[in-house]
C-alpha cells in the first residue's frame, strides 16, 4: 500500500514538473503572441493596442504571478481561453479528447489481438515458416511511415475497392454504423506499426522465459502444455510487453497527428498543431497538460499492473 501511495505522489510531482516546463518554454520562445495575433495583414500592429490586449490577457503581470495563477487555474481544471477566438480550451479538449482516445483504444486493442498471439506462436516455433514470415512482416511494418500506410489504405480500400469511406468523422450518437466504419481505417493504420512492436516484444520476451528452469518444473509436474504456456510463461513474459505497449500508447496521444490529418479525424493533435501555429499558448498548454496527465496516468497504471503481475515489484 505504501508502495502505491508513493507512486501516486511521484506522479503528481512529475505532472507539476511538466506543467512548469511547458509554462517556461512557451514564455521564453521568441515571438510575442499578441503581436502575432494583431498583425493579421502583415502590418506591424499599433504598440498601444498590443499593450491593451496584453493587459486583457494578463500578460503584463510579472512571470511568477502568471505562473501561480496558471497553477491555480489548472488545480480548478480551468484550462483558460484561446487567445485567437476566446473559446474555452477546456471545452474544446473535452470535445476532441474522446475521439483521439477512441482511435488509440481501437488501435491498441487491434494490435494486442494480432501481436500477442502471433508473438507467442512465433516464440514456440522460432525456426518455423510462420515465425520467419511474421518477423519479416513486422520489420517491414515498422519501417513504413504511418502516413504512407494511411495513404495506401485510402487508395486501396476507398478509391480502388470502394469498401470504406476515405475519411471524415460522424458522431457516434448521430450514426453509430457510419462512425465505426470511419474508425476502421485510421485505427488499422496505427495498429499496423503497433502490432509489429507488440509482436516483437512478445516474441523476444517469450523466448527469454521459455528456457527458464521454472517452465521445466511446470512441465515436470505434468501441467498441460497450453497451461504451461499461458499461465507460467506468458504471465512472466508479459511485463516488458506492458511497458513498451503503454509507452507507445502514451506517445500516440500526441502522435496521431499524421493519421488524424490523413483521415480527417478531428482529434486532439489537430488542435495542438493549429495552437502551435497561431502561438495560441493557452491552447498549447492545455493540450500538453492533458496529454502529459494521461501519459503519467498510463505509467501509473502500468506500475500497478506490474505490481499485480509480479509480486517482487511491490516491495
Amino acid at each position: 500500500m505504501g508502495w502505491f501511495l508513493r507512486r501516486i505522489a511521484q506522479s503528481i510531482v512529475m505532472l507539476w514538473v511538466v506543467i512548469s516546463l511547458v509554462f517556461l518554454s512557451i514564455h521564453f520562445v521568441p515571438g510575442d503572441p499578441v503581436e502575432l495575433l494583431l498583425a493579421q495583414d502583415g502590418a506591424t500592429p499599433d504598440p498601444a493596442m498590443v499593450e491593451v490586449v496584453r493587459g486583457q490577457l494578463g500578460l503584463d503581470r510579472p512571470l511568477h504571478e502568471q505562473y501561480v495563477k496558471k497553477l491555480g487555474d489548472l488545480l480548478r481544471f480551468d484550462l483558460g481561453k484561446s487567445i485567437v477566438d476566446e473559446s474555452s480550451v477546456g471545452k474544446e479538449v473535452a470535445r476532441r479528447l474522446p475521439r483521439t482516445l477512441e482511435l488509440i483504444a481501437a488501435a491498441g486493442l487491434l494490435s494486442l489481438l494480432i501481436g500477442l498471439p502471433a508473438g507467442v506462436l512465433a516464440a514456440l516455433r522460432p525456426a518455423s515458416l510462420f515465425s520467419r514470415m511474421a518477423n519479416l512482416a513486422s520489420g517491414t511494418a515498422q519501417s513504413i511511415p504511418v502516413f504512407v500506410i494511411g495513404t495506401l489504405f485510402v487508395i486501396t480500400f476507398a478509391q480502388l475497392l470502394g469498401w470504406l469511406p476515405a475519411g471524415g468523422f460522424v458522431a457516434f450518437e448521430r450514426d453509430p454504423a457510419k462512425h465505426l466504419l470511419l474508425l476502421i481505417m485510421p485505427a488499422t493504420t496505427i495498429a499496423v506499426g503497433l502490432s509489429a512492436i507488440v509482436f516483437r516484444i512478445t516474441r523476444a520476451s517469450m523466448l527469454d522465459v521459455l528456457p527458464l528452469d521454472f517452465i521445466r518444473t511446470a512441465r515436470a509436474k505434468g501441467v498441460p502444455r497450453r497451461r504451461v504456456i499461458l499461465q507460467h510463461a506468458l504471465r512472466n513474459a508479459l511485463m516488458p510487453v506492458i511497458t513498451v505497449f503503454a509507452l507507445q500508447l502514451g506517445g500516440l496521444l500526441a502522435g496521431t497527428v499524421l493519421v488524424e490529418t490523413v483521415f480527417n479525424w478531428p482529434g486532439l493533435s489537430g488542435m495542438l498543431v493549429s495552437g502551435v501555429n497561431a502561438r495560441d499558448y493557452p491552447v498549447v498548454t492545455g493540450v500538453i497538460v492533458v496529454v502529459a496527465a494521461f501519459y503519467i496516468g498510463l505509467n501509473l497504471l502500468v506500475d500497478i499492473l506490474y505490481g499485480l503481475t509480479d509480486p517482487r515489484v511491490r516491495k
Partner: protein, 610 residues
C-alpha cells in the same frame, strides 16, 4: 552393461537408451547404451561430472527434452509401458503423477509470479479431480509433511520470500503431492549449504521410507552418494563406465575414473596426521595411474612480518525507511573480525551463505570501505594505500568463472587488463606476459586469442587465476573460487594454487563453504556465523577439536563419503535466527574469546546456543 537385478520386479527398466542432439544440422550422440533399473523403495545414484550425460538421461526418461532436436532410442519401461512410445498428453499424465522430478536450482525452479501454495496445489489439480479448496487442503498437508514451518500462513507467499532450503522443500512438496512411484532428484542439494543439504537429504529419505517410492539421485558428489544410494551408476562422457552396489563401488572401484572421482572427493578427517597443507594426487585418465605428489616443505614463513593484519573489522549495511530514509535497521554483515595472514599461509574463512565471509573478502581487498576496524596490508593501512598500489598487492578470484570474465574480451586481453589500467608495462610486452601466464596456469600460449566461451569452467577459473597473478600480488583472496567446479577440475585448480603459493610465497585468504577442501589446504581456519568469527585457529585444532557449537554443527553436517558409516550423521535442527538483520538501536554484545590451545580461539557462546 546390466545391473544386478534385485528380487522384486523393477519399477523402471531402462534398456539400450541412447540420446542424440541435433546441432547445426548434425546429430551428436550424448548418451549411449544406458541400461539400468530401479525397484520400489530403492535409491539409485547416477554419478558423473558436468557433461557426462547424467541429467540428459533423466530428462530423456521424463521426455522433457525438446522433441524436434532430440533423438531418443531404446526402451524405458515403467509399469509395463514404454514411456518413449507415449505421446505428449499421455506423458503429461505420467509426469508429476507417477514419476516426479526435482531440480538443482531451487532459486530459479519456481515460478516467481505464483504463490508457492498455488504451485503445489497445481501439481495436485492437474492430476486429480479435486476442487480448489480440496487442493489447497492437500497442498497444506504436503507443506507440513516437508516441514515448512507455519505452512498455513506461508501458503500465499511468493518464492522470493523463501530461503533456498525452504524453496527446495516447496519443490519436493509439489513433486510428491501426487505420491509418485518414482522420484528423480537432479542435484537437489548442490546449491544448498551443508546443514541445509543434510536436512533435505534426510527429508527425501524420510518420505521415501513413508511411501516406498523408488529414487533416482543424480549428483556429482560422492559424499552424497555414500549417504543415500543403494546402488550406483558412474557415467563418463555419455557412457556408463561402472555400476554396482554403492558399497562395492566405494570398496573396490574397477575403473580409473571411478577411482579418480573417489580419491578426488575431499574427505573430512583424512588430514589428521599431516602437519601442513597437501596437494591432491594427480590422475592420468589415459594410463589410469594415480600419483601421490611428494610431501613438500611448508610454505608458511612464520618469522616474516604479517601480510595482513586485521583488527576489529566491521561492516554494516543500513536498511532505510521508504519515504523519510531513516535508518530502521542494520545488517551486521561483518562484526568485530580480527584476522592475521603471513607469507605463504592459507587462511580459510568458512561458514554458510549470509555469514559475512564474502563481505569480509571484499573489505580485505578494499572493494567495500569498512565502517570500523583496521586492515594492515604488508604493514600499511589499507585505506591509505592508493587504489593502484593496493591492486598490486592484493587480488581477488571470484566464484563464478562464467560471469567473471568479460565475454567480449579475448582471454589474453582479460589477463593483462590490470596492467593496462595501471600502465605498468609497455603495450607491446602484454601479449608475451599473457602467454607466459597462460602456460603457468596449465593452458597453452596460443589460447590468448580465444574468447571465454570457448573454455570449460575449470579452464576459465585458471584464466581468472592468471589474471589475479599478473599484478604479482602478495595476497590473493579466493572467494568460493573452486565451488562451481567439478571435483577433478577442483583438485587441479587447488593444486595450481598451492604450486603458486610455494613458488611465490603467496598468502591466500580462501573463502569457502566446502569443509573438506578447507581441511586439505589450510594452515589456519576461521569459522564465521552471522558476521562474527566464532572460532579460529590452526587447521588441525579446528577439525580435531571443534569447540564452538556452531563449528560442531557445521562439521557434523558434512556428508561422509563412506557408505559403511551411513546414518551416523544426523541433520542439525533448523535454526530460527538466520539473519544478521538488527534493529537500529541494537548494541552488539561484547564478546569474550577463550584460548583453548595455543592459537585456537573460541568465542564464548551466547545464550542462543544453550
Amino acid at each position: 552393461m546390466t545391473m544386478t537385478q534385485s528380487s522384486a520386479a523393477p519399477l523402471l527398466q531402462v534398456s539400450d537408451l541412447a540420446v542424440s542432439f541435433r546441432k547445426d544440422g548434425q546429430w551428436r550422440n550424448v548418451v549411449r547404451d544406458m541400461n539400468f533399473s530401479v525397484t520400489a523403495g530403492e535409491t539409485l545414484a547416477i554419478v558423473g561430472e558436468s557433461g557426462s550425460g547424467k541429467s540428459v538421461t533423466s530428462m530423456a526418461v521424463m521426455q522433457l527434452l525438446p522433441r524436434v532436436s532430440t533423438r531418443i532410442t531404446g526402451k524405458v519401461l515403467f509399469q509395463d509401458r514404454d514411456l518413449l512410445a507415449l505421446g505428449e498428453p499421455e506423458m503429461e499424465a505420467v509426469r508429476g503423477n507417477r514419476i516426479s522430478m526435482i531440480f538443482q536450482e531451487p532459486m530459479t525452479s519456481l515460478n516467481p509470479v505464483m504463490t508457492i501454495g498455488a504451485q503445489i496445489a497445481e501439481a495436485i489439480r492437474v492430476h486429480r479431480p479435486v476442487s480448489k479448496a480440496e487442493a489447497r487442503a492437500l497442498a497444506l498437508e504436503m507443506m507440513d509433511r516437508v516441514h515448512i514451518p507455519a505452512a498455513r500462513s506461508r501458503y500465499d507467499d511468493f518464492p522470493h520470500q523463501f530461503s533456498g532450503g525452504m524453496r527446495q522443500r516447496v519443490m519436493i512438496a509439489a513433486a510428491l503431492a501426487c505420491k509418485p512411484d518414482l522420484l528423480i532428484a537432479d542435484e537437489p542439494t548442490t546449491a544448498l549449504d551443508v546443514t541445509i543439504q543434510a536436512q533435505v537429504l534426510d527429508l527425501i529419505k524420510e518420505l521415501q521410507a513413508d511411501t516406498g517410492m523408488g529414487v533416482i539421485f543424480i549428483t556429482h558428489d560422492m559424499g552424497v552418494v555414500a549417504e543415500v544410494a543403494d546402488r550406483t551408476l558412474v557415467m563418463y562422457n555419455g557412457d556408463v563406465i561402472e555400476s554396482g552396489t554403492t558399497a562395492q563401488i566405494f570398496a573396490t572401484p574397477q575403473k580409473t575414473y571411478t577411482r579418480a572421482l573417489l580419491s578426488a572427493v575431499p574427505k573430512l578427517g583424512t588430514m589428521g596426521g599431516t602437519p601442513h597443507p597437501l596437494p591432491y594426487p594427480v590422475f592420468d585418465m589415459q594410463t589410469g595411474t594415480m600419483t601421490e605428489l611428494p610431501l613438500r616443505g611448508d610454505t608458511l614463513q612464520s618469522d616474516a612480518k604479517p601480510l595482513l593484519e586485521v583488527t576489529g573489522l566491521s561492516k554494516r549495511f543500513e536498511v532505510k525507511s521508504k519515504i523519510l530514509k531513516r535508518v530502521v535497521a542494520r545488517v551486521h554483515a561483518v562484526e568485530q573480525v580480527g584476522l592475521m595472514l603471513r607469507r605463504g599461509e592459507t587462511l580459510s574463512i568458512v561458514g554458510e551463505s549470509g555469514c559475512g565471509k564474502s563481505t569480509t573478502g571484499r573489505l580485505l581487498t578494499g572493494l567495500y570501505p569498512s565502517d570500523s576496524g583496521r586492515i594492515l596490508l604488508d604493514g600499511r593501512e589499507l585505506g591509505k594505500i592508493p587504489a593502484n598500489e593496493r591492486a598490486r598487492d592484493i587480488q581477488m578470484i571470484f566464484q563464478d568463472p562464467y560471469a567473471s570474465l568479460n565475454p567480449r574480451l579475448r582471454v589474453g586481453e582479460a589477463i593483462t587488463e590490470p596492467l593496462r589500467i595501471h600502465k605498468l608495462v609497455p603495450r607491446k610486452d602484454e601479449a608475451e606476459i599473457a602467454e607466459r601466464l597462460l602456460e603457468r596456469v596449465g593452458l597453452q600460449a596460443q589460447m590468448a586469442d580465444r574468447y571465454p566461451h570457448e573454455f570449460s569452467g575449470g579452464q576459465r577459473q585458471r584464466i581468472c587465476v592468471a589474471r589475479a597473478l599478473v599484478m604479482k600480488p602478495k595476497v590473493i583472496v579466493a572467494d568460493e573460487a573452486v565451488s562451481a567446479l567439478d571435483v577433478t577440475m577442483k583438485t587441479q585448480v587447488i593444486n595450481l594454487m598451492m604450486d603458486l603459493q610455494q613458488e611465490m610465497g603467496l598468502g591466500f585468504v580462501f573463502i569457502s563453504h566446502d569443509m573438506a577442501v578447507v581441511e586439505r589446504i589450510s594452515h589456519k581456519v576461521a569459522v564465521m556465523y552471522l558476521g562474527e568469527v566464532v572460532e579460529m585457529g590452526p587447521r588441525a585444532a579446528i577439525f580435531s577439536n571443534p569447540t564452538h557449537p556452531y563449528t560442531r554443527r557445521l562439521l557434523s553436517a558434512v556428508p561422509v563419503p563412506d557408505p559403511a558409516r551411513r546414518g551416523q550423521r544426523s541433520a542439525p535442527p533448523i535454526l530460527e535466527l538466520r539473519s544478521p538483520l538488527r534493529t537500529s538501536d541494537y548494541r552488539h554484545p561484547v564478546r569474550r574469546y577463550l584460548e583453548v590451545s595455543q592459537g585456537h580461539f573460541v568465542q564464548e557462546p551466547g545464550p542462543e546456543w544453550t
